[in-house]
């Protein structure tokens, strides 16, 4: 299982941040997530594996400065 914010989701072999977000209705709007406490940005979504039991937090739009 993977926890995305407060919701649980099925884990599968080869799951990446990109494939996980693609399963969500609004996954496309996020540019950054926190994966087990570490920041991952969109350019790395495709190549970042999500391990079984991971906790993913979607970070809202980055406002900056």
């Amino acid at each position: 299982m993977v926890t995305v914010d407060e919701q649980t989701s099925c884990w599968q072999e080869g799951l990446t941040v990109a494939t996980l977000l693609a399963q969500l209705d609004d996954g496309h709007i996020y540019a950054v997530v926190k994966l087990d406490g570490k920041l991952v940005s969109r350019p790395h979504f495709d190549t970042t594996p999500v391990p079984d039991g991971a906790r993913v937090t979607r970070i809202p739009m980055i406002a900056g400065g």
């Binding site: 914010d5 969109r42 350019p43 809202p60 900056g64 400065g65």
Partner: protein, 712 residues
């Protein structure tokens, strides 16, 4: 240090006026040349038009100056004001001071929004704003004692030179045992010997038992402060509660403050963790999106960025509460305890470093090719102690390093120093030189605009290249974001009233990453709404971070998620609860519009404020050199082929570089047109008569400035 011995030059005792609905309706006027202290009224019309904070500052500054005054004339004023909500302890981010003056870098109006306790203590002492004009011989300390109801101009010889020690000594001296009741403004030797001096605003951290600092960094206001012969301004006050501001509706204030504060406590740990880590989370994110300035804004990422980002500083920050105003739950003003500098006067001694924030890490780290957190900490510490703006220091040294690497300057010019990117020891040498006004550092401390002139005229460097890579606009050094791939943020910097500082508009993610504003009209709309709303925080004594750095979980489902309208509504309720004047979100924009346009006309009064002054160095718009183009060739080739249908067959990189430049420069000019139109300005970037009338700033002096510039 020996005990302080002061000579009193002037004393004014006064009956303190209590705050009513966020205002005292009077300002304090100190003329250092005449040695006079006076108070003046703030009439209802002025209050309604200028609101407070930067608005009051601009009104007082305008009144002090003629159009031909220069930054170092005695007439130039340093104006400081918080705002009607400034000093509210329960609402996050409500302790700001806004400082305004004529900048030694730009020659026009500069403003800086800063934390620390000074602005609230000034207001609770009976004054919505402070104006300091004139000059004195030095060693002057102005003391505003709201408890004793007394203002003094003192001469205190023998004070420590650096701001770090000076604020400590003065806090101790004036506190009468209650250090939390003191806030000190000071500059330092770097402020006196450069044009990029900052002001340190202090507060006393009772948990750590030490004086802490925030900086009014931009534009050289510290240099003006030092030029006036001021060593410090001290405010003294006692307890603060929600009632100190005497809000119109205390219960409504409690309700809205509780809502925002609780939301931050709940969501910040899930989102950016400002209360634990401040803004350092931006380092890896900017790096990932090719937005982290590297080697003088040539590139937007570097493999070494992970060494100076979130994971590095979370191990270094001293845990604990770090609010720069009482009760703020964002509390992002982190610091590093027991840091031991390896150069300078504090070499080998343990110090507390207030910072670094993202801007300092990017400016004094990646932009200099330095990926060592300890060097960044040391630069941060000495810049604060010397009274130097870390953003201008970083961007200026980055320019020097690129000039050195390109052979535009050499070791004969730098006093023998090798100044390639990554040379951390010589970067520190330069900063020590800036502080003392000696060596090559004395030239660097003049800022990029003047360096460009010196390098061309005295060192024979190519002026066109210097113009392209010198990251300043209006004379102010860029803050630390890459704008090449975001036209909206090019406007955010180039069209900002004071110069390229991101506090007016930070649109990179909305534009480049989220593509929320694909058309010129949409960009222009964003370059209207966001600068206006961000201006509003500076009118009210507020910090903008609680608005959009922690956002509601359902924000993404709203009509305009970029605006975080739930919070905008809370701010309207907050304003209404304190002042008793009913305000809607639209009203907040209109309030800012009046002040914003007044500042644009103020620029015009000082000889600036037209289209020609809204220019950018080409490095801000696109690749200047062949190697920059080559490093992102696919991106640029794709743009030429797909957006502009250019046939690249058989074309070399210099040709492509030139083609891209023509188009990118043209699109920036088109953006200017769209923004001017949206803001109600002429094609030359001047507010029209209709605009100033609509906003109620059609004062005779304003109309005269417009008429003098052909707008009738």
């Amino acid at each position: 240090m020996t005990p302080i011995k002061s000579t009193t030059r002037k004393t004014l005792t006064y009956p303190r006026r209590n705050v009513d609905k966020g205002y005292t309706d009077q300002y304090l006027d100190v003329d250092l040349s005449a040695g006079t202290i006076a108070t003046g009224p703030i009439e209802e019309k002025i209050k309604k038009t200028f609101i407070g904070g930067k608005g009051f500052d601009l009104w007082l500054l305008w009144d002090a100056l003629k159009g031909d005054n220069k930054w170092d004339d005695p007439q130039n004023a340093i104006c400081i004001s918080s705002g009607p909500m400034g000093g509210t302890p329960a609402y996050p981010g409500s302790g700001k001071s806004i400082v305004t003056s004529i900048s030694p870098l730009t020659g026009s109006v500069i403003d800086s929004n800063v934390g620390g306790y000074f602005g609230p203590y000034l207001k609770f002492s009976g004054f919505d704003a402070l104006r300091i004009t004139g000059k004195t011989k030095g060693d002057t300390v102005v003391v505003i004692d709201g408890i004793e109801e007394k203002i003094e101009i003192l001469q205190i010889p023998g004070l420590p030179e650096d701001a770090y020690a000076l604020s400590d000594v003065l806090t101790d001296h004036f506190s009468q045992g209650k250090k939390v009741g003191i806030s000190v403004i000071s500059a330092g030797p770097g402020a006196a010997n450069t044009r990029i001096g900052c002001l340190n605003f202090s507060w006393y951290d009772n948990a750590r038992k030490r004086v802490r600092y925030k900086q009014a960094g931009r534009g050289g206001i510290g240099t003006v402060f030092a030029d006036k012969g001021l060593r410090a301004v001290v405010a003294r006050w006692e307890q603060v509660s929600l009632k100190t501001n005497n809000p119109a509706d205390l219960e409504a204030l409690k309700t809205v403050a509780r809502c925002h504060s609780r939301e931050i406590v709940e969501l910040d740990p899930k989102q950016n963790e400002m209360a634990r880590l401040g803004t350092v989370h931006l380092v890896p994110i900017m790096n990932d999106f090719d937005l982290l300035p590297t080697n003088n804004f040539q590139y937007g990422s570097h493999p070494g960025a992970s060494l100076i980002g979130r994971e590095a500083f979370e191990k270094l920050f001293d845990p604990g509460y770090d609010g720069c105003w009482k009760g703020c739950t964002v509390a992002c003003a982190h610091g590093v305890k027991d840091f031991v500098p390896y150069t300078g006067a504090y070499k080998g001694r343990k110090v507390f470093v207030d910072g670094p924030e993202y801007e300092t890490i990017a400016g004094c780290g990646s932009n200099l090719g330095i990926f060592d957190p300890f060097t960044i900490l040391e630069i941060n510490f000495y810049c604060d102690a010397y009274g130097l703006d870390t953003i201008s220091v970083g961007t200026a040294i980055a320019f020097v390093m690129e000039c050195f690497e390109r052979g535009l300057i050499n070791a004969d010019h730098t006093g023998g120093m090798e100044l390639s990117f990554g040379n951390r020891l010589n970067a520190l040498v330069l900063i020590h030189q800036m502080a003392s006004g000696e060596g090559f550092g004395a030239i660097v401390g003049q800022g990029i605009r003047r360096m460009k002139g010196i390098f061309a005229e005295r060192f024979g460097a190519d002026p066109a290249m210097l113009q392209d890579i010198g990251m300043e606009s209006k004379g102010l050094e860029f803050s630390e974001y890459m704008t090449k791939e975001s036209l909206a943020q090019q406007g955010g910097y180039g069209l900002a009233l004071k110069g390229p500082q991101h506090d007016e508009a930070w649109l990179i993610f909305l534009d480049m990453v989220h593509n929320f504003m694909p058309t010129f009209e949409q960009k222009a709309e964003a370059l209207h709404w966001f600068p206006m709303f961000r201006t509003w925080f500076g009118l009210c004594g507020l910090c903008k971070l609680p608005w959009n750095d922690i956002v509601p979980e359902d924000n993404k489902d709203t009509l305009e998620p970029a605006k975080v309208m739930k919070h905008v509504n809370w701010y309207a309720e907050y304003y209404t609860a304190v002042t008793g004047c009913k305000a809607t979100p639209e009203d907040l924009i209109t309030m800012s519009e009046a002040v914003y346009n007044f500042q644009r006309v103020f620029n015009l009064k000082m000889g600036y404020g037209t289209r020609d002054h809204d220019t950018l160095p080409y490095r801000a718009m696109g690749p200047v050199t062949v190697e920059e183009y080559a490093s992102r060739q696919e991106r640029y080739d794709t743009e030429l082929k797909e957006k502009y249908t250019v046939d690249l067959t058989g074309k070399d990189t210099p040709w492509r570089l030139a083609e891209l430049r023509k188009r990118r420069e043209a699109q920036y000019e088109t953006l200017k047109d769209a923004v001017y139109q949206r803001r109600g300005w002429t094609a030359n970037g001047i507010p029209t008569v209709e605009t100033v009338k609509r906003l109620g700033i059609d004062f005779p002096e304003v109309m005269a400035v417009l008429a003098k510039n052909g707008v009738k």
